[in-house]
Symmetry: C2
Subunit: 263 residues, 2 copies
């Protein structure tokens, strides 16, 4: 769904939608079936109504409704690029999490998207309290992707985070980009009073770089999993002296990252 | 409820409970009815079982069960003080929030407690989507206090946050401690690219000081409310360039505060 917000040009509420194609002035484009439903059926857009489109290159364009097909979908005409302040973090952030019960992953994905996450990697860890049946994995990823897309619109992100297929820890490690900064949030590091690893990683990261952070589920991480990660280039890091719940830790990390770079 | 955690002395799981009285070695003390129920009925504690008690001065004591009354409650004997690393933030943080619908305030209180909040102030603001009926306010505060107490135990805090009675903005401003640092999270400040106020307030705060932060509900703050706060010594601050939901903003702020002081 798109969300309403005030345009710069004075109080007019304008919808914003993501599109898959790169855009250019005068181009004609259609929205996804879901966004079309939202714009034409829910919001009852008329011909001439203006809206914002964000393309895959993170550019924002002013567009208008040019044609409407039987009140359900329509053709949009791109008018001009819009100047939008930088609102993406200067580095890409992958949040890799064990599988949590109930709607905790939903919450993590929604909030982490608001806070600037670029990739979400569900991890099947040994102490996870839930397993994802093989025949349900695609649905679960699809559901999380929709949550991420909605949150990206709501928070005016310029990109929708990628929800990656669930992986075992070994598959995940095998597929990690070599050049990324890699951290694993580990309570024992906090207990030892070692709180500097996150700040150090952020200070050393280069603009355009990629930080990958691993978090356990409610059950936490096995020592053997932490050791495997450490042998694979991950540094154990603390998220402060208080014990955070599984769903709180990734949000803490992202807020800290934003504070470091943006405030 | 108390939570299980590993003691420093090697793998024994020990409960931790908060008590209202200051403690001393050899003192005898009883838990609250709720904690007694948890320790003796749920956890089935036996005579001689050790546990940790946290008193109002934020000291932690080793104690043991000395007597059990009909399996439902019992007398605890304080054995000795325990050395516990500092896990409270160096300043007190009041989170003052508009009234949100559903269980959003529950979430804010739970997560903000994990992240170090010391006071929670529910605020009746003009754009709140819910109102608290006068005859339900005490129950709602009581419920939030229980959530805070449980989260304080889970995250091994040394204090339980105080949930304050709901106030109008004027009552709240009138009762704000004069010497506190005061901020109001305001989206428009972020849009203007002014992101420095939170960091500046944290850099200037003295250890033992008090920071009060105001957040709107889903409906946001009226300009007139922000102006009233500003006239009363509150500075408008940004929480970064992305739009955060009402329930995300206080958690972002607390994580940023923790990162600033503790990492």
């Amino acid at each position: 769904m798109g969300i309403l917000h005030l345009s710069k040009e004075g109080g007019v509420k304008m919808q914003r939608y993501f599109v898959e194609t790169p855009l250019n002035s005068q181009m004609r484009v259609e929205l996804s079936p879901e966004d079309s439903h939202h714009l034409f059926t829910v919001m009852r857009a008329n011909i001439g109504q203006t809206l914002e489109l964000v393309d895959k290159t993170q550019h924002v364009w002013l567009a208008e409704v040019e044609e409407i097909y039987s009140k359900k979908s329509g053709l949009l005409k791109v008018i001009k690029p819009l100047e939008i302040p930088q609102i993406e973090l200067p580095i890409q952030i992958t949040i890799a999490c064990g599988l949590s019960k109930n709607d905790k992953l939903d919450w993590i994905v929604q909030k982490a998207t608001e806070m600037g996450m670029t990739h979400f990697q569900p991890l099947a860890l040994s102490r996870d309290v839930v397993k994802w049946a093989a025949n349900k994995q695609a649905d679960k990823i699809d559901r999380l992707q929709k949550i991420a897309n909605n949150a990206a619109q709501q928070s005016k992100r310029l990109r929708q985070p990628d929800i990656l297929p669930v992986r075992t820890l070994k598959e995940f490690i095998h597929n990690c980009p070599q050049e990324s900064a890699k951290l694993v949030a580990f309570e024992e590091t906090a207990k030892e009073g070692q709180h500097g690893a996150l700040k150090q990683a952020l200070t050393q990261a280069l603009p355009g770089g990629h930080l990958i952070m691993v978090f356990g589920s409610e059950g936490g991480l096995e020592i053997s999993e932490v050791e495997l990660l450490q042998r694979s280039g991950f540094e154990a890091c603390s998220l402060g002296p208080r014990i955070l719940r599984a769903e709180t830790a990734p949000l803490y990390a992202l807020a800290a990252i934003s504070y470091h770079y943006e405030l």
